[in-house]
Symmetry: C2
C-alpha cells in the first residue's frame, strides 16, 4: 500500500476518496478538509475570536489542535458537568492538553454554580441527556456573549451529523431538519454563530488523526449517555457505506445544499428574540429554557 502522493508507505486508506496516504500526507489531507469546510461555509476568519467547546473527547481536542495549526485564534471552553469520575478525568485531559500545546482555556464549573447535571435532572425529573443539552447550550451561549467571542465551534463530525440527519428523516422531525447545517448564523445580539469545522471528516479519520498526532483524549463515553439511538443510526449508515461507498458524504452534503437553497428562497420569515425575564439572556421564549429548567418557575 503506497501513498498516492509521495509513493512512500501508506498508513491509511480513505475509501470514500479512493486514496491511500502516508502519515505526512494524511495530516495534510486532514488540515485541508478542515480548511475547506471553514472557507466553504464561511465559518470564521483569521481575526475572529473563536470559542471551542471542549469535552476532553477526541473530536473537540482534535478540533482545538487543528485550529491552532491553521493559525486561528481560539480559546477552549470546558464545562464541568459534575458527573463524578468522568468529569474529573475529562477535565484533567483538557488541562493537560492545553498546557502541552500552550492553549488558552476557560472552565465553567456546574458544581460550583450549583447545577451539576445529575442534581438538575433529578430535581426537574427530566432525562439527564436532555438536561445536559440545555445547560451546555446555555453556558456556551452565555460565555460566548459575556466574553465577546465571535463564533462558537464544536467538534461534530460527518458521522454525527449524517446519523442525526438520518434519525431526523426517519422520524420526519421537521423542526430539527431545518437546523441541520454546518453553520448556524448568529441570532439576535446575544446568540453567537455556531460552526462545525470537522464536518468533512469521519469518526475514523479523526481517531486516526488523534492517534498519529499523539493527542491524548478521554476514550470513555459519558456514563449518563443514552447513546444507543444515535449509535444505531451510525451503524446503519456504516453498513450502507461499506456496500455503497460515498453514500454518507453525498447524503449529508447534498442535504445541506438543498436546505441552504430553500433558506435563501424563504429569507423573509424571521423569528424574533426576546430577553429572558429571569436572567436576561436572549431566548425565543419569555423565560429561557435554562431558567425554566433550574429556577423552578412555571411559565
Amino acid at each position: 500500500m503506497k501513498c498516492k502522493i509521495c509513493k512512500e508507505k501508506a498508513i491509511i486508506k480513505l475509501k470514500r476518496h479512493n486514496i491511500k496516504l502516508c502519515k505526512e500526507h494524511f495530516n495534510d489531507f486532514f488540515l485541508k478538509q478542515v480548511d475547506r469546510a471553514i472557507k466553504e461555509y464561511k465559518m470564521f476568519k483569521k481575526e475572529d475570536k473563536i470559542m471551542v467547546c471542549v469535552s476532553g473527547g477526541k473530536d473537540s481536542l482534535v478540533l482545538w489542535y487543528v485550529l491552532k495549526k491553521l493559525g486561528y485564534n481560539s480559546v477552549g471552553m470546558y464545562i464541568n458537568l459534575g458527573i463524578s469520575e468522568y468529569s474529573e478525568n475529562s477535565k484533567k485531559k483538557v488541562i493537560e492538553f492545553a498546557k502541552r500545546f500552550d492553549l488558552q482555556y476557560k472552565i465553567v464549573d456546574l458544581v460550583e454554580l450549583g447545577y451539576p447535571i445529575p442534581k438538575v435532572a433529578k430535581e426537574s425529573r427530566r432525562a439527564e441527556c436532555s438536561v445536559c443539552g440545555i445547560i451546555k447550550r446555555y453556558y456556551f451561549n452565555k460565555v460566548a456573549f459575556d466574553e465577546g467571542f465571535d463564533v462558537v465551534a464544536t467538534g461534530h463530525n460527518l458521522d454525527d451529523e449524517a446519523s442525526r440527519l438520518l434519525g431526523n428523516i426517519l422520524h420526519w422531525n421537521e423542526e430539527y431538519l431545518k437546523k441541520q447545517l454546518p453553520v448556524l448564523p448568529a441570532e439576535g445580539n446575544m446568540l453567537k454563530k455556531k460552526v462545525k469545522p470537522l464536518i468533512r471528516l469521519t469518526e475514523k479519520e479523526i481517531a486516526s488523526y488523534a492517534f498519529l498526532n499523539r493527542i491524548d483524549y478521554i476514550i470513555d463515553e459519558c456514563p449518563l449517555s443514552e447513546g444507543a439511538t444515535s449509535l444505531v443510526y451510525k451503524d446503519a449508515l456504516n453498513l450502507i457505506e461499506e456496500n455503497i461507498v460515498g453514500t454518507k458524504q453525498f447524503f449529508y452534503f447534498q442535504y445541506v445544499k438543498k436546505l441552504l437553497k430553500e433558506i435563501k428562497q424563504s429569507q423573509s420569515e424571521k423569528r424574533y428574540l426576546k430577553k429572558c425575564k429571569i436572567c436576561g439572556m436572549e431566548s425565543f421564549h419569555d423565560i429561557c429554557s435554562f431558567c425554566r429548567l433550574v429556577k423552578d418557575e412555571k411559565q
Copy 2:
C-alpha cells in the same frame, strides 16, 4: 405466548403493532391490513377490473390470493422474461396456483415476441435489471390498456417501499422521490392507475401468511438480479427497526402523507402525454422507452 384476541396459542408476534396472534386472527389481521390500504388510498372498488402483476414470488401470489378472498375481480398477468430455468419454474408456479384457486390469468411471452431479457440487454448493452424494468412496465401498461383493465396492482410491500425510499433519500433522487406512493394515478388515456395493496405489510408478515396458507411460491430470486443494493437498504432499515420499533412504518407513511399534501398544493403543473411514434402507446417522449430500447432507433 397467547393470541391477544382469543387467548389461544399465538403463532406470531408483531412487534411494531405490539400484538401476538393465533393463525386465525393473524389471517384476519392480514386481510384487514390489505383492506385498509385499498380503502385508505382509494385503490379500487368492487366493480373494477384489476390486473395483478404476478411473478410467481410470494408477494404477488399472496396479493392475488388475498384479492380473491376479499371478493375483488382480478386477473393475473405473468410475463415470461426468458431467463432460462428461473422463468420456466416461476411460470409453472403461477399456472399451478391459478388452477388450484380457480383464478384467471394471462401470459405474455417475451421469448415468442422476440424480446427475452438477456437478448435485449446484450443488444442494447444495458444492465439486465434496467432492461427488465422497462419491458415489464411496458407490457403491464400495454396489456392493461388493450384489455380494458381499470387498475394495475403489484405486490410491493412495506420493506420494498421503505428501503427504496431510504435509497432515494440517501442519494436525493428527486425525480423518484416524487413517485413513491402506494397509488400512482392514471395518466393520459393509456397509462392505467398503479396500486400497491400490500403496502401496510412487511416481508416477514407476507412470508408468514404464505406459509400459513400453504401458498407455493418460487423462492429463488431472479438470477440476473442485482439485488445487492436494495438488500443493503433493507438490512440497514431492519437494523434500525430492531432497536427502534415502528421506525420503518412511520418513516414510510409519514413520507407518503407529506408528499400527498405537497402534490395537492401543486396540482397546477401537469405533464402532457404524447403518443409513441413507433408503437402508438402513450409516453412522455416522442418515442417510448421500450421502442428506444428494442427498435434500435436513435432519437
